[in-house]
Symmetry: C2
Subunit: 219 residues, 2 copies
DNA sequence: ACTGCCATGTGAAATGGTTCACAAGAAGTA
DNA sequence: TACTTCTTGTGAACCATTTCACATGGCAGT
């Protein structure tokens, strides 16, 4: 009984898996599948059918017993759960290595995340053009973010300045931040912060190689 | 002491947190701290002291009761647990948007991951130079990877071709892959695969905004 | 040496997440 | 209508991770 207020906490892993389901459903749609079972969905993302069904069950009953899920319908349900059934205007701060790669990264736009503003503090970059967007001076951040009604920001600046910029960004009314700097940022409780730490995964690989794999012990 | 056979499975989260501790310890080192308590370490990464101690306890007893951990010593312990107390030679495949950003990404080198080979299939890119490395033809992958004794690869190619390349890469003897393509890749059980899915975190933010955080929207 | 204080290391308890197992619904067939 | 097959949705069981709580050991001051 999903009473409108009783919001059970949904785990992070469940949300991440919704992203995977969404990705697979998009593919299935292209392959002209009408329906898909939890079994097939699971297979395509190396999960278990029970996991798939449980994840979806947190949000409702989207399937038909004996048949599976309608691909189009489930896709659009997940879109609306994830909030990607709309367009998000995103500002990207820091047009360096990573930053300029992200401007051209097509996956973001595909999911409705549109980078509409670029900021940097480097005079040589300010005024230059990336994919049709002119880089603004970070000093104008407050004004421009408010004016464009932007609530989501991608942060691709050096770790040393990240906290200062976050503080400004929050003051400008942003409530969602995707941070690429390898540092733990402080934000007020009403601001959503996620970190993308690319070294972390390399380190995991390194760990796996050195430990798991290593000189195969007789077990 | 170094548990040779009794290999308890260490959770992914623990390993990820080791990366965080490592990062903080590097910082503390620069700030000339001699020792650090689990409390301080926890505070700096928004974790609990018990969590920190438990994580470390899987690998040994590195602290001193009443005092805490020696910064230098703990840092080097974690380095060796993560396997980053050595240099890794890494090949990067796909010199597009993301790929060319990663060549210049300094964090990798800082942790001992050195990109030493670049591959692409685009004639216009082959032969060109990125940060002192010449882009090779992907057709020479097998030969060059074997010759350079490379076991770790970063994959920054389009999803459509990722699986084919992975198959080749595995044949060439690579056993660790960091994949940036938004697709679920098949690898043999002895190959370590990690995925970096940047849209996923944006989707999480979007979810958080739409659900957790109430309608503050008045357009 | 004694005392007070502090912070680790770790079993045990609590919490959270995943898998199991099965009742029940839907569609097709006779 | 009755029967078969298929697959969902979901409590309950199971397993993993996190947190608790405290005995233990080290250090400093007297």
């Amino acid at each position: 009984m999903p009473s409108s207020g009783s919001r059970k906490r949904i785990s992070e892993s469940t949300i991440h898996r919704l992203s995977l389901y969404y990705r697979t459903l998009s593919l299935l749609e292209k392959e002209n599948y009408e329906t898909v079972s939890s079994k097939e969905l699971a297979k395509r993302e190396k999960l278990t059918p029970a996991q798939v069904r449980k994840d979806l069950s947190f949000f409702g009953s989207f399937g038909t017993r004996g048949l599976g899920y309608n691909v189009n319908e489930l896709k659009s349900k997940i879109e609306s759960i994830l909030g990607i059934n709309r367009d998000w205007k995103v500002a990207l701060i820091g047009v360096g290595n990573i930053g300029s790669a992200l401007v051209s990264y097509k996956e973001f736009a595909k999911q409705g995340f549109h980078i509409v503003k670029l900021f940097d503090n480097d005079q040589r970059k300010i005024g230059s053009n990336h994919k049709g967007i002119t880089v603004s001076d970070i000093k104008d951040l407050d004004m421009e973010v408010k004016e464009a009604n932007i609530t989501m920001v991608i942060l691709a600046v050096p770790a040393t300045v990240a906290q200062y910029i976050v503080d400004d960004v929050v003051k400008a009314g942003v409530t969602a931040i995707l941070n690429f700097a390898p540092i733990n940022l402080r934000v007020p409780p009403f601001v959503h912060l996620r970190n993308e730490n690319m070294s972390m995964e390399l380190e995991y690989l390194s760990f796996a190689m050195v430990n798991n794999h290593a000189p195969k012990k007789s077990k």
